[in-house]
Amino acid sequence: MKRYFSLIAILITFALIFTGCTDTGNDTQDTAKDGEITIAVACPLTGDYAQYGEAFKRATALKVKEVNENGGIDGKKIKIELMDDKNDPKEATNVAQRLVSNKNVVGVVGHFSSTACLAAAPVYQKAGLVEFSPTSSHPDFTKQGTYMFRNINTQEIEGPIVADMVVNRMKGKKIAVIYINNDWGITAKDNFIKAAEKLGAEIVAEEMFIGSQTKDFTPTLTKINEQKPDVIFLAAFYSETGMIAQQMKQLGYDYPIAGLSSLFNEELLKLAGDAVEGINLPTNFFPGDPNPVVTDFLSAYEKEYGAEPDQFAAVAYDTMGMMIEAIKKAGPDRAAIREELAKIKDYNGVTGIITFNENRDVVKTMKILEIKDGKFQLVD
């Protein structure tokens, strides 16, 4: 019997804490409501992808700080509601539900990966809250509903740019492809191959790996070596690219490597040193860009965090900037913010001049970089 009483006691305590928890959450925001506008940032702060979430966290905080220092939005300060989704689809939907339930949240910057974005999308769409992902490139993402926006070129746009870079600049006729087995890697690879074949190149190998699980690329590289390709094209993130480049060097293979904008990260240079020398890649954001928008962002970020921002930070910074832009015009109204965000044209961001097409996908121009003398350098 005692057992059952303790059971009931636990249940009741839980029920109380639980409802209490969410209520107090709302209370604190209610008291602060008049002076503040809340924008949520949802990204992985723990788990495999925490490093990208960290970039989101820093860059969005910087943008908000800048806006608040200049008087906020109509005198109201912006507050960030930071949510960890572990890059786990289940947690992402929980986060989404939590955010849509919180009436003070007017817009969401996030999530990081397409998996999380897609899982959370129905919740946002149903509630009518903007989900503005800085990085989701899954073709289906913005098809989930009218409240989904993205701030990264889809692979339909990036693929042909990279194919042109590989075939015409790097003179790749026989190309080997290594791609990460996730939605991004597969769409990237498919779009690249389509564009490259149109340009007359031949794909001699198509190998995949599983992200954050595969560390040993020697069998894949040994296999590709049999085909003697002109160029190896990687649809991968920087950490795996570093490993692939190093293992290639250890095996004594010397093929030029081409990558995607995902490789633009100073960590890649630290990680793999001279093994990544000569890699070619496109990018939206480049710190060496003399554009004052970029140089201002650079110095502000370095002052705040003592480190150079990567492209994830840059795109998160722009995403927050555009969100604030929309709120400025619409006021703290979720539906109006969606309307205004969709109307944004030629936003002058650190990742380029940004406009949405009718599918709420962005179209941005890209620059080509090469790693030379241990540094990313602009070519042409």
């Binding site: 995949m208 699980q213 040993d216 894949t220 490993m243 095996l251 004594g252 990680l271 793999a272």
Partner: protein, 292 residues
């Protein structure tokens, strides 16, 4: 290409083998699957790296200190998270969940303290490689295999010939009886954890050197594979861990090279399951006669 793949596989297998030895030893003594082992392996690699980069120690010194620190971590895990459970005679699964808790804790703590990004592990021993025709074997690969074999031999000697080894075997056979015979069982267990954890650190550092990178999640898959290797060879049997590690490593690489890279882990686990169905106690495991 086949021989190159074989070499690749043997190297990978050696790293699994080193890690598997820790699982097997703890299991042999306590019949406990220590899920924190993967995290300890990662911790070892990180500590050595941090000693080298933050304190600017030279590699050998950092290596020795790091391995000892990791060994002490092994003892601490046992003392804080497992010993109280043994004292209470709690079910084995409770200990298992406790080690899972430890694993989550260490992994995320490392991430908090040192960041979650993949870090470069400096190539301290740049020794080049030997070429035999188109076959290329780096000295690092040879060293990794050698160390696996040497450590394995040293362990066997410790367990067969020394006093502490005798005590370990006695404890593994029957903890209560060993206690009655005057064996300091607590010391034996601590020693086992120390040994297991420091071996994991050695493996972590070697793997870090081999791939020239470490990251906080590196222990997860490596831990699972090493566990699989230990079981495949026959858990609790030292040579079994080495054999299991090599088989898992080679089959994984060959699967990636000749079948499909996406299925490499599935094939490694598939082989494991197939072997266990045929030999339920692993390749070198002894069949236990039921006591009635």
């Amino acid at each position: 290409m086949f021989f190159q793949q074989l070499i690749n596989g043997l190297t990978l297998g050696s790293t699994y083998a080193l890690t598997a030895v820790g699982y097997t030893m703890v299991f042999g003594i306590l019949e406990l699957v220590n899920f924190s082992h993967g995290a300890v392996y990662m911790f070892g690699a990180f500590v050595v790296l941090m000693l080298m980069t933050a304190l600017k120690l030279n590699f050998m010194l950092a290596f020795v200190i790091g391995v000892i620190i990791t060994g002490l971590l092994g003892i601490t895990i046992d003392k804080i998270c497992l010993f109280p459970l043994r004292k209470k005679k709690a079910p084995k699964v409770a200990s298992l969940i406790s080690t899972i808790g430890v694993s989550i804790f260490i992994q995320n703590l490392v991430m908090l303290v040192w960041g979650s990004e993949t870090k470069n592990f400096p190539l301290v021993l740049n020794l080049g490689s030997i070429n035999i025709g188109s076959l290329k074997i780096s000295y690092l690969q040879i060293i990794i295999m050698m160390i696996a074999v040497v450590l394995m031999a040293a362990l066997t000697i410790i367990i067969r010939k020394t006093k502490i080894g005798k005590a370990m075997r006695a404890t593994a056979q029957n903890m209560e009886a060993a206690k009655l015979m005057g064996v300091n069982v607590n010391f034996v267990i601590s020693f086992t954890f120390f040994l297991g954890a420091s071996l994991a650190a050695v493996a972590g550092v070697l793997v870090g050197m081999y791939y020239q990178s470490v990251d906080p999640m590196m222990g997860f898959m490596a831990g699972l594979k090493a566990f699989a290797a230990a079981v495949l060879g026959g858990i609790g049997v030292l040579p079994g861990a080495i054999l299991g590690g090599l088989i898992i490593g080679v089959s994984e690489i060959l699967a990636a090279g000749y079948i499909h890279a996406g299925f490499r882990d599935a094939i490694a686990f598939g082989i494991l399951i197939a072997v266990l169905i045929i030999r339920p106690t692993g390749l070198l495991g002894k069949k236990v006669q039921k006591k009635v």
